[in-house]
Symmetry: C2
Subunit: 210 residues, 2 copies
């Protein structure tokens, strides 16, 4: 990997970025964002790193602003842009679940399921593939409020500990899919920087994926 | 307004809710959310108040979960659901602006403008009405990064103080629209609760709109 042409990498702001930082450190890749800065280089100047909002990461990689990115399958699925998945990363995995009131049996009536979700693309495809009609209400946040306030009986959302569900008297009714975190690449970028990217992947492998 | 049938009102989490709270207090309407609770009544039990995410507020009012809501025109425009606008409120107004690099002249080339924005519906309609072709990249946050990273030369975004623009060497190139905050109602709810709502509006008027 040449020092004068660093690979460009987009990372999602927040907890996932912290996990990337820890993982990279194991491979000897260290970076530091100065206060209020959203662009940084790692100490060996192999990477130019951008911090962007999680949901916008595929957009930046798709447009080639960053050649590489770290992204959950949930966000990749909703973005629907063609990115190469280079490597599954050993952290940040979670579950996409159907949840509803505690003790509720799933009522797939003739009208089908009515769910609130941030993940409309995933939800539509999942239930359509099972021939279950699904009516969706798109929400941007606090999806667990929907059954509490009576907007929809069910929700489709990411569930980690289940603490938020429990606080709202909800529970997982069905796990729909595991969601993992991937290192992704813009396909054209991958083609033109194949060697440097493969070298970068080897360095990451050396971190010893759990 | 009957004590036993409170009006249902959705408020957006965050700064706007604080301004609502101050304004309502002038009219003698006081409410308090217990810790971690998102539903509250005012002290006279005239209102049942829900806290929801700003962008989801029109959805909750459209589906009748709350009969009334307080919402900025930016969010109303993007939601595109038919709500009655009952009253413009005397706070929270802001501006929707076209912004770009400092000193840039607006280059409406044959290809038109290329802008990043959260407000795709507003942006499309605004420029189409002026017969200016517009290419949009939808972002969910940190829109001011788009020109800095080279995603798009321009952005359309809400501008209050302009501090965020300045920090990224951007400036307002054109003010597109003022954005005001409205008290809105679900049309069916308004029809059935006309008297109570009119009484509520009178109480608010007494707060002395600046």
């Amino acid at each position: 990997m040449s020092v004068d042409t660093p690979l460009t990498l987009a990372l999602p702001k927040g907890r996932l970025e912290e996990q990337v930082r820890e993982h990279f450190a194991k491979a000897g890749i260290e970076y530091h964002f100065e206060k209020r800065k959203l662009v940084a280089r790692d100490k060996d100047k192999r990477l130019e790193i951008f911090l962007v909002k999680n949901a916008d990461l595929p957009t930046y990689v798709h447009h080639g602003i960053a050649g590489l990115g770290v992204c959950g399958e949930d966000v990749l699925y909703e973005a629907g842009v063609p990115l190469h998945r280079l490597k599954e990363l050993p952290f940040g995995s979670t579950r996409m679940c159907l949840a509803g009131p505690k003790g509720a049996s799933i009522d797939v009536s003739e009208q089908g399921l009515k769910v609130a979700t941030k993940f409309t693309r995933f939800t539509r495809d999942y239930f359509h593939n099972q021939n279950i009609p699904v009516e969706m209400v798109k929400l941007n946040g606090s999806v667990e409020l929907a059954p509490v306030l009576g907007l929809t009986p069910y929700i489709v959302d990411l569930v980690e500990t289940g603490g938020t569900l429990k606080a709202n008297n909800l529970e997982v009714l069905q796990e729909l899919s595991s969601i993992r975190v991937h290192l992704v690449a813009n396909p054209a970028y991958y083609k033109y920087h194949y060697r440097e990217i493969e070298h970068f992947l080897e360095i990451l492998e050396a971190a010893g994926d759990e």
